[in-house]
């Protein structure tokens, strides 16, 4: 028997055995780049859920610290003396303003923190420090009872986590953008316990496409996030509401009318928020003073109507249970509108998603009550109108009716109300869109996209934009052992061979050497130069994406080398990135 004792040979044989295993596993499981992306999407979902839970915990902690109560925002406000109710949101605004001001020094030179901008028109990089500063400020505005949603910062943090993963793994811009989108999806899924709506929110509003290339990872991320939250907090649906059903088809006209009303009110609501912002800016007060003033207005309203504080969640539950008189509710809605405009307008970091749900529930209930009073058969249960109103208002505000319907269904698990909900959301969407083309999210994206148009390097659809630099390379002298080691260390199927000047010579294919991995004798003789394929297709950095796609269609490879006119290897282009970028290009342009 021939026993090998040379340690170098033993190592080589072991390495070749490992490589054979790798090839075997790869052939059996065939993990494509898409499947790997799904794994990272799942990880982003997990981290997104954790960051959401941590933020929620911290916000509750700040609230407890400021109020000495561990109950909900509205409940603790009710227990405080009037002067404390007046002062608390102002103090919160002051502290949030100070954090933002101090944070400016820490985040100099960092770009916008907006995750939607990073996904839609940016490189997918969400600045970490700036986002943390904004989230820390949000803790004070939310913890002190500001009329603002905590879900916005939760989604932002989840997006930061995902962006961090993508940057750590050195993802290309399209992959990074998809990763941040996965983070946002996870954030919404964990904030609202609504994984389907989380996926569709990002797909419909931010990506503008529900192509499977992006929806798949979004769904995985959202599911992992929702699972994580459920396991760690044992939360079920967000709004535990009585069972609603469509009383009779005669109710439908009233629901259609509600859709029209929500469609008219929603743009007003958005415009009023923008208007409030302008008024605050016109005061020319410094940010800290503006935020304190915003808090003071909320506090003043809360002395009489503590329900204006917070994101409005507890009041929505009360409305859905029918525990509020319509006259009281009218007061709530008016004050909440004013409070949200004050918080948002003063620059308090937070979201207006949940306040929108409040407005919808209020408007829906009031309308349902009015119809019920005049014609009981036309609106059997005004509470059902509150629920449908939430969906309609959300649909009109976000211009995303599919997401709104799904979100309402997931938050309440009331399937019986789905027919009026769908109809009303669609009517509200068309009404709002007809009145005002801008949605809650489109404004900022339009402005930023217009700025980006001036940037010559952006969006020309060239290979250079998607190229990943420093692909693993071999010299033409590399022996079989080195080739095997490199194939084991990287996950590529083709290794590029370059000369001393980094000129591309060809590629060594794992497919070619696969049958000979059991023959270490070849290791003595075979070098990269012997087995490189010179005819391996390559793309130029200035090639268009469709030219690159043509190469991929004619040649089976996951990546192609990017080579400049002098033959120098600049990087590699992944098929996954290319398809993702083509999907992104297919969506409607942001600037019209």
């Amino acid at each position: 028997m021939n026993v090998v004792t040379d340690p170098a040979k033993l190592l080589l044989e072991r390495m070749l055995r490992l490589l054979r295993w790798r090839v075997w596993v790869q052939e059996k499981l065939q993990p494509t780049e898409w499947q790997i992306t799904l794994l990272w999407a799942g990880f982003a979902g997990f981290l997104g859920a954790l960051s959401s839970l941590v933020f929620q915990g911290l916000a509750e902690g700040v609230h407890q610290l400021l109020t000495g109560s561990n109950e909900g925002v509205v409940e603790s406000m009710k227990q405080l003396p009037w002067w404390a109710v007046l002062a608390l949101p102002a103090v919160g605004g002051l502290l949030a303003g100070i954090v933002l001001m101090l944070g400016k020094h820490l985040t100099k030179g960092q770009s916008s923190t907006d995750y939607m901008e990073a996904i839609s028109i940016g490189s997918g990089q969400v600045p970490i420090r700036a986002s943390l500063v904004k989230s820390a400020a949000a803790l004070f505005s939310i913890g002190s009872g500001g009329s603002i949603g905590r879900e916005g910062p939760m989604v932002q943090l989840a997006a930061v986590m995902a962006s961090f993963i993508g940057r750590w793994r050195q993802f290309t811009p399209p992959q990074l953008r998809l990763m941040v989108a996965c983070g946002a999806s996870a954030g919404i899924a964990s904030a609202y316990n609504a994984p389907i709506a989380g996926s569709f929110f990002v797909a419909e509003i931010i990506l503008g496409t529900i192509a499977m290339e992006s929806l798949g990872p979004l769904a995985v991320s959202a599911v992992v996030a929702a699972m994580t939250v459920r396991v760690l907090t044992s939360e079920a649906q967000l709004y535990k509401v009585p069972e609603f059903r469509l009383g009779s088809p005669l109710e439908m006209p009233a629901y259609i009318a509600l859709g029209v009303i929500a469609g008219i009110l929603a743009p007003w609501f958005l415009r009023s928020l923008k208007h409030a912002e302008k008024i605050f800016i016109a005061t020319k007060l410094p940010l800290v003073a503006r935020m304190t003033l915003g808090g003071l207005i909320v506090g003043a309203l809360a002395i009489q109507v503590p329900e204006v504080c917070g994101n409005g969640y507890s009041v929505v539950v009360t409305i859905l249970k029918g525990q509020v008189l319509w006259t009281t509710l009218l007061l709530f809605v008016a004050c909440k509108w004013l409070a949200t405009a004050s918080s948002f307008g003063s620059g308090a970091p937070g979201g207006v998603f949940t306040p929108s749900l409040f407005m919808g529930a209020g408007a829906g209930f009031l309308f349902g009550q009015a119809v019920h009073t005049i014609w009981p058969g036309g609106a059997v249960d005004p509470r059902a109108f509150a629920l449908v109103g939430m969906g309609a208002f959300l649909s009109a505000v976000s211009h995303a009716p599919v997401m709104a319907v799904i979100m309402l269904f997931e938050m309440t698990l009331s399937y019986d109300i789905i027919l009026p909900l769908m109809l009303c959301s669609v009517v509200a969407y068309y009404t709002a869109k007809g009145l005002d083309g801008r949605s809650l999210y489109s404004e900022v994206l339009k402005t930023k996209a217009a700025e980006k148009i001036g940037d010559a390097g952006f969006g020309r659809g060239q290979v250079a934009e998607l190229m990943k630099s420093k692909p693993p390379t071999l010299s033409r002298h590399a022996h079989f052992a080195e080739i095997a080691r490199m194939f084991l260390a990287t996950r590529v199927n083709n290794l590029y061979v370059t000369d001393e000047q980094q000129r591309f010579l060809g590629a060594v294919s794992l497919h070619d050497i696969k049958p000979y991995l059991g023959e270490p004798e070849l290791a003595e003789l075979v070098i990269a130069n012997d087995i490189l394929r010179e005819e391996f297709p390559r793309v130029g950095p200035e090639s268009t994406l469709s030219e690159a796609l043509g190469h991929f269609l004619n040649f089976e490879a996951e990546r192609l080398p990017v080579v400049d006119p002098s033959g120098k290897l600049l990087g590699s282009l992944s098929k996954g990135d290319l398809l993702l970028a083509l999907v992104e290009m297919r969506k409607k342009p942001l600037v019209v």
Binding site: I513, Y516, L522, I531, E534
Partner: protein
């Protein structure tokens, strides 16, 4: 061919190359083939054991895979680490034929690994016997 009388690896390559170009029209450009053989030998050793060398090249000079086999009369030096080479297997493969090249090299390695084949090739008294040993090994 057997009992090749040469003094160095380079000479052995030239001699076997000369024989191969005469034996087959598949060597379309003999000068280019020789150049490619030497270029490859300069890149890295072409010996697979102490007494076996496989000078080879993937080249545009051959129209299909060609193989020449020789045994030297006395050990010759191919490089510092391989001073006593006796068996030479020269392979020329077309540029695109990566798989065929690997197949040929792997097949030869297997043949030479078989118990006694190498010794039989070294001891074969005539060229006919040398060829017979190769043929038998191939059949196994």
């Amino acid at each position: 061919m057997t009992d090749l009388r040469v003094n160095s690896g380079d000479e052995a390559i030239r001699a076997l190359h000369q024989r191969l170009r005469a034996a087959t029209p598949d060597v379309r450009d003999a000068a280019q083939f020789l150049k490619d053989l030497f270029e490859r030998s300069a890149l890295s050793s072409v010996c697979i054991s102490e007494d076996v060398a496989m000078p080879h090249a993937r080249t545009t000079a051959v129209s299909r895979i060609v193989l020449g086999v020789a045994r030297t009369a006395a050990p010759v030096s191919f490089d510092v680490e391989h001073p006593g080479v006796r068996l030479i297997f020269m392979i020329g493969t077309p540029k695109a034929a990566v798989t065929e090249y690997l197949q040929a090299v792997a097949a030869l390695s297997r043949i030479l690994k078989q118990g006694g084949t190498r010794a039989a090739l070294l001891e074969a008294p005539t060229e006919a016997e040398f060829r017979a040993v190769l043929a038998r090994a191939q059949l196994r």
